[in-house]
Point group: C2
Chain length 239, copies 2
DNA sequence: TACTGTGAATGAGTTCACAGCC
DNA sequence: GGCTGTGAACTCATTCACAGTA
């Protein structure tokens, strides 16, 4: 158990109840609060694509070119990127490096997020070995697993604990994010335990809708639902 | 490239000819072309939840209850489900079994989709063993892998072929869907080969935007992007 | 010249509120 | 009474079109 200095972006996940009446916090540069939901849902894609250009040494990118890559209109790109201010130059395009920084800040991935994985089945195993998480600022601290046969091992440098010890171990880790890769049946109960322990966000791969306190953010990834989305797109390919 | 529509309860002989010009608001039978995109994106969730109720023996469900489960408003549920016509009864709720059938038909998952997996890395391995796909009508026919050490095996009853044999083997399989679980670098080239072989849809796990002929549908699942979405939701927890 | 940034117009999606039916 | 189905109002998102600027 090494002490983990949480290089958090800005705030501490103290459970702030619904104390309303206070104006929203003034964040340093980009007021992320005023990013519309539709734009927010595209930010990750923009970042991925811009990082690709950055690695390739491209210094500026035009709304037109970026839009063609992503299948979006140029005007939509401009609308979205204008929210971040000064990175576009008329006649030239957008500063790639600057935008990457601004997007990471807006997404909250300019710092490190302490993350645990719950569930070391097939999917969990794949996730541990997926390096894309670390690259984007998500540091995997521990794995919790139900099957005691797997407990005690170390995978990719990450210790595997018994999920029964969740309440004992998690509070020592200052963990903000959990990745839930368990079957549908235990998912809700585990998510509730994570929420009680003060987790701020859960990436849920279990094919169930979690119901938790509203101050715990969840993002669902259901592989079957994604395939259904694809089937729908194929059947409705005319248009 | 044709989906297989096995007959469900009442399939109405909707004229498939392109002759338009008649105001269409007559039958409540589902003409999937008129499902708005926003509704379409929720269909898979509805189906998952309704199947859950169906397994539990629940015969009717109210918009209110379904909405609470999914985090949607009751009026939104009613708007969406009204597109499918006759499954709601005033004062009672919606017929679960009927809706499940209608949703599967609308999604195109009332038949079987022949599917191949390309890429047998960590994620590919997990996907092969994920039974949710088969349950929703996606039949895995074959796996194609670059690493020749893995070629020749049979995993979960599915043969592993050399990806070099893609052009030889795929045309014999009448495959409609491909799941692409390879690194970013080879993804675009592989997707293009799949498209050339007549694949109708690709579920893309590689962290790149594919550019293909428009008649090939793609759905992207980028795990890093999903985690970023979560980080954004946490930072903007006022949602 | 060739791009961005942005008001104005358009379009899509959601919620309201209540009529209609079980 | 209690629900669904739906016109109407409203809110949010996208596109258009062009002024502004490097």
């Amino acid at each position: 158990m090494q002490p983990e200095p949480p290089q958090e972006p800005n705030d501490d996940p103290a459970d702030s109840a619904l104390g309303e009446g206070v104006p929203p916090d003034r964040l340093p540069s980009v007021r992320s609060g005023d990013i519309p939901a539709a734009t927010a849902s595209r930010l990750g894609l923009y970042l991925r694509e811009l990082q690709h250009f950055l690695r390739g040494g491209t210094e500026t990118i035009k709304s037109n070119a970026l839009g063609r890559r992503l299948g979006l209109s140029d005007s939509q790109i401009r609308r979205d990127l204008a929210l971040f201010g000064e990175f576009g130059k008329r006649g030239v395009g957008y500063n790639v490096a600057g935008l990457v920084g601004a997007l990471r800040q807006a997404l909250g991935t300019d710092g490190q997020w302490n993350t645990v994985l719950v569930g070391l089945g097939n999917l969990g195993n794949a996730l541990v070995r997926y390096r894309g998480f670390e690259q984007q600022g998500f540091s995997l601290q521990a794995i919790f697993e139900l099957d005691s046969a797997k407990v005690g091992a170390t995978i990719e440098g990450v210790p595997v604990h018994d999920v029964a010890d969740l309440e004992r171990i998690l509070p020592t880790l200052k963990t903000q994010m959990a990745i839930l890769a368990v079957p549908a049946a235990p998912a809700q109960a585990l998510a509730a335990r994570l929420a009680d322990l003060g987790i701020s966000g859960i990436l849920n791969f279990a094919p169930v809708s979690l119901s938790l306190r509203k101050d715990v953010a969840t993002v669902d990834v259901d592989l079957a639902v994604e395939l259904q989305r694809l089937a729908f797109a194929v059947v409705n390919s005319d248009r």
